[in-house]
Structures are given as C-alpha cells and as structure tokens.
C-alpha cells in the first residue's frame, strides 16, 4: 500500500510529508526531489523507481504530489487517490497553490490522517469529510450527531449526509459533449466520436432517490419492442437536417461509466440509472458514442500551389444544424508552411489573422446560425527554400460551441422520490442544458 505522501513546491521544497509505512524513510523525500523534480530531462513516466522505491506523481499547476511505496501496490488506485486528494483539497481551500497549501497544512495533515490509513484509502467524499473535519475547529457534538457522522462515513451512502434541507428543491443537469472528428479532404469521415459527461448539480432535501432516463437505444428498444424501435430507425435516417432538434429517437452508447452513487448492478441488469445523489455538484456519468454523430460543421478546404512561392487557400465552413440554433466561439485554424513570408486574407464573416508565431491563419467568428455557410480565402506567399522536403500539410482544425448534443443524447426524465419528506417529483424545479464543444475537430487538406 501507499507508504508515504509528499507535496512539493516547484523548487522541490517539501510542503507536506506524511509517512505511513516504516519502510519509507526521510531519504525518500530527497530521492524524488533529486531524481524527478530536479531532473534535467522532461518527465518520461509518471511512475519512477528509485532504489527499489516507487514514486507516483501528479502535478497541479506547479505543485508536485508524490505517493511513495516499496510494495506492489495497485497503481491505478494510487493515481485515483492522488486525483481524489486534489479534489478534496480544492473543495476545502480552492486552488492548489503553494500559498494555499502552506496556509492549510494543519488541515491537510488532518485530512491525510483521515482519508489514508496505513496507506489504505478510506472514505474521501468531501460531502462526508466536511461534516467532521472543519477549518473552524470541532464543535462540541451531541451523541446523536457523532453517531450520525460515523454511520455516514462508513455507511452505504458515504457521499451524502442526512438532514439536508432546502426551501426550494432544484436540480440542474448539464449534458456536456466534446465531438471529435478527423475528415479526409474529400469529406469522408475517417474517425468521429463523442465523449460526453452528464454533470448534475442538485439542491434537494433529505435523501432523494433519483432515476435518470435518456434515449439510450437499448432501453428504448426494450420498452417499445416492435413499434418504437421502428420509429427510432425512421428517426435516425433524418439526422442530417434536424441536428439538435430531436431528429433521433435513440442513440447507441458505446460505453459509459458512473459516479459511485449509481447502483451499478441495477444498471447491469435493467439498464436503469438510479441513485441518491451527493449534495451539490457531481459528474453523474461519462459516455462515449461513435455512431450517427451530428457533425455541427463541415469544413471544405481547397489548397492550390501556384508555382513554388505561392499558395492559394480557400476554406468553406458549413453549419449543419437547425437554423434556429446559434453556434458560438467559432475558430478555424488553417496551418501555413514554415517559410511563409506574407499572407492576404479575405473572409465574408468574422475576423481572420495570420499569426506567424503559430504558423497559422486564425479565423474567428462569434456566432453563426445553422444551415449557413461562410468562406475565407487567402493567398500565402512563400520564401523560396532549398528544403527538399515537402510541406506536410497539417490538418485544418476547428473550435466551436453549439447548444445541442452532437451525439443526439436526450434526457428523457429525471425523477425524484423522497418518501420521508413532503415534496414530490413535481415540486422539484429542473433545468437541463446541452452544450456541444469541439474536441479535436480536424479536416485534412
């Protein structure tokens, strides 16, 4: 198991040092500093073995967190723990910085004592920790309170405490997707996938039992049997024009993972997503889809080499979603050869600039409605070079944000039941928002 945990600043000075196992000595602290932080080379691996001692590290801004061990530990667990540690610290005192760590070192020791026992990670949900590890000193607790704390920390629902009360029961669901594309110059999709997250912010009283439903193909097919699935198939065929507009009835999810509050065995058996959410924000699920993705933009490149010293570039972008929707923060990046000497750009919409330092023409458009198109043309002048190597023509990349889910995912319902308190599903105010962003969205030219 984890033998010790150290936190260093960028200079390699120790800010926190907590040793859990006898086999880790003080010299381990220095070994990591000398061999990793002060190493001349770039870090080549997040796991380093120095004199039969293994160091796992992650970096947050300029702070190094290192877990140390001499045993054959579960490496994935150690990293998950380090991330969790960062989350917990952020939840307690904000950004992880040298100053914040120094200011809170007593708190950090207290946390480390609680969430790592003899190197075994223990309950590390901030919701639970905040009930008994506070920065203001321990209030004298009554016996009931104490046992409530312990039962929560060790209980089945470690992420939520009892007795939460809100005057207004509200919840927010954000479906955040990033759509990735690699397209050939001829417009053929080489690869495309969406990785999405459902982030839930809930302000609900008591211990609400929630059930989340989306247009997962497997569920819809199972429910509808004959009729509905036909409908789904029919719906699928018209995804082109109605992007974001509920064209698709159901989507095929390649894989998904859930926050630990979701009952996995129930999902496995019935594919239903039921849970008692942590209070406040949590990432309810992550998913991946690769089929029938709505590509919000199509990039059509045209590059012509005129002699050896000139390039003509024309790029057309077409928005491919409902005209009533608006895409934002659009940016098209057209790479230019290294020997570019000058660029003239003309664009119909937005602003375009040649950025010599980035070897690219950057074209920005603030907003663009669906089913529109816009184009840019540029003349690139090149310095003659004797470099035999041809310019590799890196792909044209694009950034944007659209108000729908490119995977076609739809939230069908999120039902809330709290039998003990007198509010019902109807009383909960629910908000759902879809945001699609570009991941790596590239078109070869």
């Amino acid at each position: 198991m984890i033998g010790g945990l150290f936190i260093y600043n960028h200079k390699g000075e120790v800010l926190i040092s907590r040793v859990y196992r006898d086999d880790i000595g003080r010299n381990a602290v220095d070994a990591f500093r000398v061999n990793v932080i002060h190493a001349r080379q770039q870090v080549r691996s997040p796991v380093t073995n120095i004199a039969r001692t293994s160091f796992f590290h992650v970096k947050r801004s300029n702070i190094w967190l290192a877990a140390v061990t001499k045993q054959n530990v579960n490496a994935a667990m150690v990293f998950e723990f380090l991330y969790k540690m960062c989350d917990v610290m952020t939840a307690y005192f904000g950004k992880i910085s040298e100053e914040n760590i120094k200011n809170n070192f007593v708190l950090i020791y207290e946390l480390l004592d609680e969430i790592l026992d003899f190197g075994y990670p223990q309950n590390s949900e901030t919701g639970a920790l905040k009930t008994f590890i506070t920065q203001t000193g321990i209030k004298s607790q009554s016996k009931e309170e104490q046992s409530q704390i312990t039962s929560q920390v060790t209980g089945q629902i470690g992420w939520r405490r009892e007795g939460i009360k809100y005057r207004r029961n509200e919840l927010f669901l954000d479906v955040l997707e990033s759509v990735n594309l690699l397209m050939s110059p001829q417009g053929q999709v080489l690869s495309a996938h969406v990785s999405g997250r459902v982030v839930m912010k809930s302000y609900l009283s008591g211990m609400p039992e929630c059930k989340f439903g989306m247009n997962d193909k497997i569920v819809i097919d199972k429910q509808g049997k004959g009729g509905a699935s036909e409908e789904a198939a029919a719906g699928k065929s018209d995804l082109g024009g109605s992007g974001g507009g509920g064209g698709k009835q159901s989507i095929a999810i390649d894989d998904c993972t859930f926050h630990q509050c979701v009952r996995l065995s129930k999902f496995d058996a019935e594919r239903s997503i039921s849970f008692i959410p942590p209070d406040g924000e949590c990432e309810l699920m992550r998913y991946r889809t690769t089929k029938d993705i709505i590509l919000p933009f199509r990039v059509i490149p045209l590059v012509r080499e005129v002699g050896r010293t000139k390039l003509e570039v024309k790029v057309v972008i077409k928005s491919n979603f409902k005209p009533s929707l608006l895409a934002q923060k659009i940016e098209v990046r057209i790479p230019t050869p290294l020997n570019t000497s000058g660029v003239q750009v003309i664009c119909m919409k937005g602003k375009a600039k040649y950025k010599a330092s980035e070897n690219a023409i950057v074209w920005k458009i603030k907003r663009m409605a669906g089913m529109k198109e816009s184009q840019i043309s540029a003349e690139i002048e090149l310095l003659p070079t004797n470099d035999k190597k041809k310019w590799a023509r890196p792909p044209i990349s694009m950034n944007f944000e659209v108000p729908f889910a490119p995977s076609g995912l739809k939230v069908r319902y999120l039902k809330v039941f709290e039998p003990k308190l007198n509010y019902s599903d109807h009383d909960v105010i629910k908000w759902v928002r879809y945001i699609g962003r570009s991941g790596i969205y590239e078109t070869r030219c």
């Binding site: 800010l15 691996s45 039969r52 579960n74 003899f118 993972t257």
Partner: protein, 949 residues
C-alpha cells in the same frame, strides 16, 4: 489567520522558545506552538528534543490539537521509546471515550507508534475496538491489526487478533468488511502458506455482497482479494464473473482495472464454446477503451495493462486500433505506450491506416518517439507481409530526410526486413551505403556492417567499405567488432581472391590484439575453420539463416500469465514480477492463472506455468531457443537480441518471399544430401496455428445448423493423380523420369519411374529437393539398389517428410528436384497435388469450425465453381473424405445441400470449405476460407481433381 507563517521561523534558539510556548498556560498559544513544531518537522528539522513538552499537550479535549500531537508522536516515538510510554495512558483512556471519532483516532494512532514496549499495552484497547458498537471504530481497528502485525507478527497471532479479523469479514457494515479484507490480504502476503483468507464459496458470496455497497476504495480491496481466489469449477467462475462485470461501468479506473483482472483470470476457466465466454469478451473492450479518456497518468497505467491484455487475448481489442492513435498533446509516456499497442494490433486489415499514422509520427520532435515510430514501421513490414513494400519505401523516404537518428534507426530496421524477406529488397542497399559515414551509433553501424557482409557479392566495393571500418577497430563497441569480423569472413568466402589480406588483418586484430574473450574465441574459430576446411567454413558461415518471426518483443508466456494476475498493480506497469522490485518476503509468491476445467479443453492451459512456478522468474526468459547458442553465434545472430529465431509458426513460413532458383548454391546442396542442416527442422513441427481465434463467440443463427449431423459414409481411397513425365530423356542424357505423388497411411510418397534410355548403365542415384512451400524433403535416400541397365525401368517409392526448409514457391505446389546419377545432375520441377498434404486429423470440432469460420476475415474467402460433376452430395462427401477432406456438417436448404468441411495441412494451416451441391445441377459452388488465402487456389484444384476422378 494563515498557517504559512509557521514555515518561516528559522531563528536561533527557536527550540528553546518553542519549549516555553508549549508549556504555556494559554490553550491558544500551546496550539500555535504545536503547529510550529509540526511545520519544522515537515521541512525536515529535528524537533525531537521537544518530545516531553509536546506529549504533555496530549491531554486535551481540543480534537484538532490532539491530532497534531498524535502526528508528532507517530514521527518521533521510535526515537524516544522511553518517553513514548508516557503516552500510553492517554491512548488507553481515549479508547474508552464516548465519542467514536476519538476512539477511532486513538486506535488509529496507536498502531503507528512502532515501539515494542508499547505494543503490548495496546492489545486490550485494540481488542475492545475490534468489537466496538460503532462501525467507524471497527473499520479503523481492522487496519490497526495489520499495523500491529507489521511491528510484531507473533503478538498478533498469540492474541488471536487474526480470528477476530476474519470474523469482521461477516460484519454488517461494508466498509468494515473492506478494511478487514485489505488487512487480511496484506497479512496473508507475508504468510504465503497460511490459509489465512480461507476463501470459500460462502466467504466469496459475502465479499460479492459487500462489493455492491462499499466505497470505491473498498471495492478495489475486495476485487483485488477476489482475484486471488480459484473457483472450484467453471460454473462458479461464471457466477462470480457475472457479479463482477457491473463494476466495469465504475467511474474509478482502479475499480475497472481490478474488475478486469478478476475477469481475465476467471475467464481462463470458462469453456471457450460457452456463450457467456463470448459475451464476456465483448464486454471487456468498451471499458478498456474508456480508460483512455482518463487523466494521462492513469492512461499510462491503463496502456501498460492493455499491452499485457492484448498479448494474452488479442481478440478483445482487435477492432479498436483507432483509439490508440497518438494525439498531438498526449504526454510522451502515453505516446510511446500507444505506439507499442498499435504495432501489436497491426494486421492486414488496418495496416494502411497504421502506416499513414506512423509516417506522421516519424516527423515529430521527440527523439525517442520518432525512433520508436521508425522502428514500428519496420516491425509492421515484418508482421504484415503485404505491407512490406510500402514500409520499405516509407523507410527510404525517411532516410532521405538525412536526420541522423532517423537514418540510423531506419537502417537497423531494414536489416531486420532483410532477415525476414531475403533477396527481395536488396535494391535499397545502394541508398543505405550512401549514409555510411553518418552512422555513429553502434547498433546502426553493426546493422550496416551485417548488410554489407551478407550481400557482399552484390556490393562492388564491399571490401573498401569494410576496410574503412577496420581502421578504428579497437574503438568500436563489441557489437560492431563481432559483426565486422563475421562480415569480413563472409566477404572472404564470397570473394576469396581479393580479400585475403583483409581477412588476415581482421583475424589478427580479433585474436591477438583484443582482450575480449567473445571476440577472440570467434576469431579463432573462424581462423581454424578457414585453415582446415574452407568448404565446411562456407557451410557454417554462409548457412541458411532462419527467418525472423513477426512478434519480436512478446513477453515470455509464464511471465505474462503472472503479470495478468497482477493487472492494475505496479508489476503490470513495470512488466516485471513483484519479486523483481519488492524487498523481503512479500510478493515472492507467484501468481498463476487457473487451469481450465471445462469441457476437456484442459490442454489449452500451458503447463509452463507450473514448471517455472517455483524458481525465480528473473532468470532471463529465454526467448532465443537453445539451438541458437553456438551455431547461432557463428551465424551472427547477435544482431537482433530480441528476435525470436526459433521455430516460426508455420503460417509465416508460408509467407516467405524470395526465389532461390536451383542455379546458385546447388553444389553444396548435393554434397550434403543426407542431412540438410537441421535449421529447418523446426518448421514442420511447429504447433498448429489456430491461436486465440477459437475463442470467438458462438451463437447466432449459424449455431443450430450443425445439429443436423451430416452422416459420413465409408471413406474411399485417396485420390492419386496419374503419372506424368517430369523429365524427358532428351534433357537428361537418356534418363527419363515420370511419377506421381500419393498419400498412403499418413505417409507422403513420391512414386517415381526411372527409365534408362541411354546406352550405358546408370548407377549412384540420389535425389534432393530445393526449398519449397511446405518443407517437403526426402525422408530417406532414393532406393535404387541395382544399376539401371539400358532400356531398363525401375519403380521407386520415396517417402517424403514435411520438415524440410521452407520457401514460398510460385505456384505454391511447385517442387524443384535434383536427381543425380553417375553421369550428371539433372533438374526438373513438378507440381504435387496439395491434397497429399491433408492430414488425417483434419476434422475440426463443429463449434471450433463455426468460430473459426466467423473469425477469418471475409477478405480471405474465395469462391470457385466446379463444373460438370455428377455426384450427389453423399458420394462427394465420401470421395472427399478419402483424401482427408472431412465433412463436418450438412444442411439442406431448398433442395440445395450445403456441406461444411475442414482440411488441415501438414504445416498446421486449416482450410475451411463450404460446398453447395444442387440436385440436378452439375455445377458445384465452393467457398474456401483460410488464414493463408494463398493456398485456396491449390485446394480448389484438389477438389476438382478428387471429385472428377
């Protein structure tokens, strides 16, 4: 108020001041002082002198202060054992505190005070806490037992804590269960033989129940513990797998990986024809892919593990190549790992894409990454023959860039490509020679020298090139020296006249002026060989080298099995067994995959695991088989250390290129007719190549059609083609040879008719074959005992073996033969019906057939028409069986009979066939599927020949 000020005090007399503050009456001031002490402790200052003063602050009801004091105690108790006793009373008292948080705190800290004297006092409080009413205290006490065990194992046993800990596995609180499991697992590791965990179906059931309820960390402990269990049979194995699979959707990657470990291990026990087995395989891919969207450090851990999983079960991720493409902003460690996996997954189906990617990568900035990408291109060439040409041209493009390290890396891999496809790409040698001067790395220099030596006869100035290296002989690394020695000797054997001086020079450099024993010994051996028997020297030095196989850096199977049992852990990240990096008794225990118990497929599970189980696996896994030892050394195989030179799987034997017509080195061929160098002996004996493909899921509509059970009638004799004249008398000074091939009782016979049409008597007959596609070779000498007089005819039957050297021929079934008699040597070539290579045990299991049929890509399917055949399906089936073409199943659809058949070739290649016979229609349709589609045409010819005769 901020705490950072505590870090800043560095005055003299600080300790003294702190002492005063610690003894202050004011609580606030005391607390401040303790914080200062802890801050000093953190940065590494020695504040142990304050021990008594700090311990005095212990008796407080301020929990925050108490925790700080405890922290101090844990750090310094060991250096002040006598003083530490002072704290015992407080601990004992705190363990009785009404507040469970304080009780837990006390028991938690207690275990961290590693002082022998104290531990005894702590037994009673610990015993109470293990039975505490509050689960929070119990879960803390459970871990405390592990702590105590680490300090004093005997004490823990004597006090009976282990039994109490075992009881906690049945606790009602899942977190207590999880911690108890963690503690027990750790203790069990240092007692390899104790049956401490005592896993049995009942306790497993408890663990599985707790699995659904405990925290993410608890789930990891439980899954890691489950992985140590060996189910009694495949049914139990399946039921555990079913309950573990939901964990694959957990957001915590460690939970996912631990679940994968359990599944990978227990899967070994499931019969492969089970539907569930296929389902499970399918379920594993998506979560593994999802791990790649985690943070980079976790991606790294995941990729290292995927590397193992892909080697063990390539079918899981074979369609997921794209997700391993490198992203521009991946950290370098992720890029390098992805590259490794890309090569492992490369196949004919995706090679174009992979190559395009690799070419991109070769222009990146990171030197290591670029080198690896270049190397990967070479590995693709070796792995996928169809891509070899493209790979070579890509490598040439890269050499044109003149980037020094790219050029060197490219030369190293081109050398490997030469080893795999001899006599195919030698046209590039000129380009390579242009870059001779820029090579400064030993490996690249050695590779270049090997190429020059190997192809000396085609490089006009080979002697000059090698001579240029000789000048700085003593400054070269051993690798280069050895290579240079061998290359010059080769050159001498090829062009003896011009290079006598050179070879003298290198031999004396190696034997007289060098103190490297390897170099000296090799020098002497060459010297003696050359001086005693130049012909033997030629045979040894210029002998046929075994081709290298495609998978070069596979992990040795025993180690792989062990690492699979360690998925998710450091061992899987390092790709080393725990004993290689863990000190002491822990981890010495070797884990093994369980044996399959299912439907008689036990042979699947390698026995190697048991054989090597006891001994330390660091004893370098011998990837290069023993035959390489001395002979290999002389054959200069030292160039490619990781290369497998052993028996090549027979499919790859099929793919070797190159034509070595009988013209060249035939003189030697005839002289050592009796036993050709044993090099090739491995080929025929190589295991049948039906690897993991058998695992493909079984099910779907095709499944039930095999229930019909095709009745197979009595076999008939094998088809023997009529004799034809192979060598007309005109061409062979009066010797006429005609003949045919037959397979009788499992033995391939070449039936020859020799006729003497000349005037004189013929004697001293001998026969030899050139290398051919299936390694056919005479199993004995040609038995012509009496001289063959004029106009006499003799019939001889020559038994053949299939263990000779292999080279792909065109057409595939072409055989080049040399026959010698007292008059001359004659050459002819003939074609044998491939049906004589069909072995008797070529009947495939139905399920296996089904799975294999699905598993072979459709690209490998070829269809043929057999016209004018008037047999019904029953008769056809019987006829075919006579030639070892086995009908496995038959079904009838709308008057059309579909026969499913399997054939196994002598080199282990399976051919699957579907024959459609329609009543009244003399034209049959046949579809052939095979992993080596080249054979399809020949197999079809056999069908036609067999059916029509």
């Amino acid at each position: 108020m901020t705490d950072s000020k505590y870090f800043t005090t560095t005055k003299k007399g600080e300790i003294f001041e702190l002492k005063a503050e610690l003894n202050s009456d004011k609580k606030e001031k005391k607390k401040e002082a303790v914080k200062k002490v802890i801050a000093s402790m953190t940065v590494g200052k020695d504040v142990s002198a304050l021990f008594p003063d700090v311990v005095n602050c212990m008796q407080t009801d301020n929990l925050e202060l108490k925790k700080l004091v405890y922290l101090y105690l844990m750090n310094y108790a060991k250096s002040q054992p006598d003083m530490a006793i002072m704290a015992v009373n407080t601990f004992v008292k705190d363990c009785e505190d009404p507040n469970p948080l304080i009780r837990a705190l006390a028991v938690r800290t207690m275990g961290c005070i590693r002082v022998d004297k104290i531990t005894e006092y702590l037994c009673e409080p610990l015993r109470k806490c293990l039975k505490d009413e509050d689960p929070y205290v119990r879960k803390t006490a459970a871990v405390c037992v592990a702590k105590l065990h680490d300090i004093n194992a005997q004490l823990v046993e004597d006090q009976g804590f282990l039994d109490t800990l075992k009881d906690l596995i049945s606790d009602s609180n899942p977190m207590v269960v999880a911690n108890a499991v963690a503690a027990l697992s750790e203790i069990a590791e240092s007692h390899p033989n104790s049956n401490l965990l005592d896993l049995n179906p009942q306790s497993i059931n408890k663990l599985l129940t707790a699995l659904n309820e405990c925290t993410e960390w608890g789930q990891i402990f439980i899954l890691d513990c489950l992985a140590n269990y060996t189910p009694r049979d495949d049914r139990e194995s399946q039921s555990i797998c079913e309950r573990v699979t939901p964990r694959l959707s957990h957001a915590n990657s460690a939970v996912v990986l631990s679940a994968v470990k359990v599944l990978m291990k227990f899967m070994e026990m499931l019969p492969k024809d089970l539907d569930y087995y296929g389902t499970l395989l399918k379920k594993l891919a998506p979560p593994l892919v999802t791990l790649l969207s985690a943070e980079p450090e976790l991606q790294y851990v995941a990729l290292r593990n995927i590397n193992l999983i892909v080697q063990k079960r390539p079918e899981i991720l074979k369609h997921e190549m794209k997700v391993f493409f490198v992203k521009y902003n991946d950290p370098i460690y992720v890029k390098l790992e992805k590259l490794d996996i890309m090569i492992r997954l490369a196949s004919q189906a995706n090679i174009a894409q992979v190559l395009a990617e690799l070419k991109e990568y070769a222009t990146e900035v990171d030197v290591d990454f670029v080198r690896k990408a270049v190397r990967a291109i070479g590995r693709c060439a070796i792995k996928v023959e169809q891509s070899a040409e493209r790979c070579v041209s890509t490598l040439l493009d890269l050499i044109q860039t003149k980037v020094n390290y790219v050029v060197q890396e490219a030369i190293v891999v081109i050398k490997d490509i030469f080893r795999k496809y001899p006599n195919k790409y030698e046209s590039v040698i000129a380009t390579l020679c242009e870059n001779l001067d820029s090579l400064d790395e030993p490996e690249a220099r050695a590779a270049m020298i090997w190429i020059v030596g190997e192809y000396a006869e085609r490089i006009d100035n080979a002697d000059e090139l090698l001579e240029s290296f000789l000048e700085g002989f003593h400054d070269e690394s051993t690798q280069v020296q050895l290579q240079l020695l061998t290359a010059i000797v080769k050159l001498f054997l090829k062009k003896p006249t011009e290079t006598q001086e050179l070879v003298q020079q290198v031999l004396s450099l190696a034997t007289q002026d060098s103190d490297n024993p390897d170099l000296r010994d090799r020098g002497y051996i060459y010297w003696r060989l050359l001086s005693t028997d130049p012909v033997a020297a030629k045979e040894v030095v210029l002998a046929e080298k075994p081709l290298i196989s495609e998978e070069t850096d596979l992990i040795e199977p025993t180690l792989l099995e062990e690492l699979i049992c360690h998925i998710g852990t450091l061992a899987s990240v390092y790709h080393k067994p725990p004993s290689a990096f863990v000190e002491g008794s822990r981890g010495v225990m070797h884990k093994r995959l369980p044996a399959r118990t299912g439907s008689g497929e036990g042979t699947e599970c390698p026995d190697v695991g048991n054989a090597a189980g006891g001994s330390a696996p660091e004893a370098a896994p011998s990837i290069i088989p023993s035959q390489g030892d001395l002979l290999g050394d002389l054959l200069n195989l030292d160039l490619a250390p990781p290369t497998t030179t052993g028996p090549t799987p027979s499919t790859s034997g099929m793919q070797m290129g190159g034509m070595d017509l009988l013209g060249g080195g035939l003189e030697s061929l005839l002289f050592n007719m009796v036993s050709h160098p044993k090099m090739g002996a491995g080929f025929g004996a190589a295991p049948a190549v039906m690897p993991a493909s058998l695992n493909a899921p079984v099910g779907g509509g095709l499944g039930d059609l095999f229930d019909l059970g095709g009745g197979v009638g009595m076999p008939m004799g094998a088809y023997i083609p009529p004799k034809t004249v192979w060598l007309p008398a005109m061409k062979a000074k009066g010797l006429e040879i005609s003949g045919t091939f037959a397979r009788r009782a499992g033995v391939i016979q070449m039936e020859l008719v020799l006729t003497n049409k000349a005037m004189s008597v013929m004697t001293d007959f001998a026969i030899q074959f050139n290398r051919n596609s299936f390694g056919l070779a005479p199993a004995g000498p040609l038995q012509v005992l009496t001289p063959l007089g004029p106009n006499q005819t003799i019939e001889v039957s020559l038994p053949l073996s299939t263990v000779g050297p292999v080279m792909k021929m065109d057409p595939l079934n072409n055989l080049q033969v040399a026959v010698k008699n007292n008059i001359d040597v004659f050459y002819f070539s003939c074609q044998y019906p491939i049906s004589m290579l069909f072995v008797e045990d070529g009947k495939m299991e139905r399920q296996v057939f089904l799975a294999t049929w699905k598993d072979i890509p459709n690209d490998n399917e070829s269809q043929f028409q057999i016209q004018d055949c008037h047999l019904n399906s029953e008769a056809a089936s019987n006829k075919l069986q006579g030639s070892n073409i086995f009908t496995i199943a038959k079904r009838t659809v709308e008057g059309q009979d579909m026969l499913y058949m399997s054939i196994k070739l002598s080199n282990g290649i399976w051919v699957l066939a579907e024959l459609k016979v329609q009543a009244g229609n003399p034209n049959y349709t046949i579809s052939l599927k095979c992993r080596a589609p080249e054979v399809s045409q020949c197999v079809f010819q056999c069908y036609e020949a067999v059916l029509k005769n």
